[in-house]
Symmetry: C2
Subunit: 113 residues, 2 copies
DNA sequence: GCAAGTACTTGGCCATACATAGTACTTTCA
DNA sequence: TGAAAGTACTATGTATGGCCAAGTACTTGC
């Protein structure tokens, strides 16, 4: 039980939320997402992102189209489905409630520390 | 991939943070923590809390003493160790950075939606 | 004694983040 | 032309941890 491991655990599920948000903003492919996540200091690696995108696609939350690239193999450009948009709304509620609950607990603590 | 499951995933790791906070506030036993977590709408069940406390204890982040109860079996009253207090500081940083990163991503999204 | 309530324990299941290695396509350049 | 490098995506295996469900142990009250 170390700090690094807990950071990983904290990220679980939240990543899915962030990625759906990024996709909701317009069509993007994996490297775009990695750039955005990295610039927000939400560390992610390929081995995490690609399986997640596959899961989202298999659940019908996102869809993609192949687009040829001028510098390399074709890319999968993702966008949200209607189902994905609904799911994102639900996730937003979940996240906000989770943050709120955590603040309620930790703020109470700070008064006594 | 449903909402419930994602809620579970989002809780991962965060629970540990919340529980350390609650313990940092004074000596408590498991049912106290469950009450507090429930009142903050952070849903937890016994099967989650007890193993977590055991992990925290085995890692030397918390310690406990047995205290007899007037209504039932004796209780384990937990408190933070010095190591646990340090760990909690690290977790606080991690959590705040995670919230910040998530806000950075989701706020950008809200401008286009 | 025996049932009911409280507190804690244990074993197994499942989802997911990550490491690592591998596939496939394109461009570059000798 | 064909080998090397770069880009994009895929597949497999491991570890962690939340949860379910069943179980143990102690106390109280009938």
């Amino acid at each position: 039980m170390n700090l690094e491991n807990t950071q990983v655990q904290m990220r679980k599920g939240i990543l899915e939320y962030c990625i759906l948000h990024i996709i909701s903003r317009g069509e993007v492919y994996a490297s775009d997402m990695l750039d955005e996540l990295t610039s927000a200091r939400m560390i992610v690696v390929e081995g995490t992102l690609y399986p997640l995108l596959t899961r989202l696609k298999n659940s019908g939350l996102v869809e993609y189209k192949w687009v040829e690239s001028k510098s390399g193999p074709p890319r999968k450009y993702y966008k949200l489905t209607n189902l994905g948009a609904d799911f994102l709304k639900g996730l937003t509620d979940t996240w906000e409630e989770l943050v709120h609950s955590t603040e309620q607990i930790t703020h109470k603590s700070q008064t006594t520390v």
